[in-house]
């Protein structure tokens, strides 16, 4: 198996027609983590969405591993290898955490048993709410349910948009430990965060976005 590798060249992105940043270059290999930095509205979410292939860059390319590179200005598709935790939790309020996670894992083409989901929820201290509709959970609990995907997925590349929002100190430490473990296992993590995430075993590189 080849070592995972994310290569970004001359990437220019924007929201609609408005350009947000120009000519971004960086390379991440398995076992590396990077934090996207920049002021509000400078395109951190846009960068993560572009890396995920949800939107097309204005110019430039995102290469993933040795797969055929996308043509200039086209979105990449990394699907199988990606776990994307977006700004929103991707949880339906009328479904319970375990039902939501079951569907999310099936969408990720991962067969995960109900018991495995329960176990992860218990590890995250959510066993008491596992059968309660998500709309009755607190913001922090919902975020933890959404992050439970990181314990269930085997994707090498994680893109996390504000993963620690609404999390308390202990949950944040649990999240950091998980990221550490993933990177130590040869994975790649790209994230944005407002809260300080102290990763004890991982050296976090910074991707600076300068507005244009």
């Amino acid at each position: 198996m080849t070592q995972p590798r994310l290569l970004v060249r001359n990437l220019s992105c924007g929201r609609g027609e408005r350009a947000l940043f120009h000519d971004l270059d960086f390379e991440l290999r398995g076992g590396e983590a990077a934090r996207v930095r920049g002021e509000n509205g400078c395109g951190k979410t846009t960068l993560l969405r572009t890396l995920a292939g949800l939107q097309a860059p204005h110019a430039g390319t995102v290469h993933w591993q040795s797969a055929t590179p996308a043509r200039d200005g086209e979105p990449v598709l990394l699907q199988d290898d990606l776990c994307f935790v977006g700004h929103e939790n991707a949880l339906n309020g009328a479904l319970t955490p375990s039902e939501n996670l079951d569907v999310l894992m099936r969408l990720a083409a991962r067969r995960v048993s109900v018991r495995a989901i329960r176990q992860v929820l218990a590890e995250l201290g959510l066993d008491r709410v596992a059968e309660r509709p998500c709309e009755r959970l607190s913001a922090g609990q919902k975020r933890r349910v959404s992050l439970a995907r990181l314990w269930l997925s085997e994707a090498p590349l994680w893109l996390l948009d504000e993963p620690a929002s609404a999390l308390d100190v202990e949950s944040r430490a649990v999240l950091c430990a998980r990221i550490d473990a993933h990177v130590a296992g040869g994975g790649i993590v790209v994230f944005t965060t407002h809260e300080e995430l102290t990763l004890t075993h991982t050296r976090v590189r910074a991707i600076e976005l300068t507005p244009c």
């Binding site: 949800l54 929103e88 991707a90 990720a108």
Partner: protein, 222 residues
């Protein structure tokens, strides 16, 4: 690959069941449109029978328009739609599962309710099977075509009127063949031709619409 289809179908049916109040509203809307109509035309039985095909189908179109607006909206707002698009499974299949669940939860209910309504309008009982068959074949097509429209207008918070402009012209063939089959059945004429054509439209819709829905969803997310 099919496992994702069943997973999404089951999820949406479960959601429909948990939020069954919404279903009741759609059904009530459908019944009310039909029930109010005689108050406008007068209770002349001949007129009611003559207009009943148009009336039933217009009520179905309007109910479809109302209910379709919620087809992808919750997923769009809570971020689930991004996970659909990022899924290694084909997005068209996921879209087809969503439409199938939508139809089972709303279209099928209209089909079930239709005999009662057409009998209220004074339609002869021998026409009821054909009427149900025409709705059974026509309403899924409405769902498939309408889903393209809602997927395209997803990024617009209040797209109701725009949606009607986008999808009603595309509903013309279903309206014509659906109401045509009904009219033929009421007149005691053979309606098989119209039903076959409705079936052909449905086959075309099932094979092509999911691809268009998938493309529209991707465009709306960009």
């Amino acid at each position: 690959m099919l496992s994702v289809f069943w997973a999404v179908l089951r999820r949406d049916l479960l959601l429909a069941f948990r939020q069954r109040g919404v279903l009741v509203h759609h059904l009530l809307f459908f019944v009310l449109v039909v029930a109010l109509f005689p108050l406008g035309t007068g209770a002349d039985a001949r007129i009611l029978v003559t207009v009943s095909p148009a009336l039933i189908w217009m009520a179905v179109l309007l109910a479809a328009l109302l209910s379709l607006q919620r087809l992808f909206r919750p997923d769009y707002e809570d971020g689930t739609l991004e996970q659909y698009v990022l899924s290694p499974e084909p997005l068209a299949l996921i879209a087809l599962a969503k439409v199938a669940a939508y139809w089972l939860a709303s279209g099928l209910v209209f089909v079930m309710a239709s005999p009662l309504l057409v009998l209220l309008l004074g339609v002869p009982a021998h026409a009821v099977p054909v009427i149900m068959a025409s709705l059974l074949l026509g309403t899924p097509t409405l769902g498939l075509v309408g889903a393209i429209g809602t997927a395209l207008t997803l990024s617009l918070p209040r797209a109701g009127l725009l949606l009607s402009l986008l999808i009603f012209p595309l509903y013309v063939p279903v309206l014509i063949f659906g109401a045509g089959a009904m009219r033929a059945a009421i007149a005691g004429l053979p309606a098989a031709g119209a039903l076959y054509l409705l079936g052909a439209l449905l086959a075309l819709g099932i094979t092509t619409a999911p691809i268009a829905i998938a493309a529209a969803l991707k465009i709306s997310l960009e």
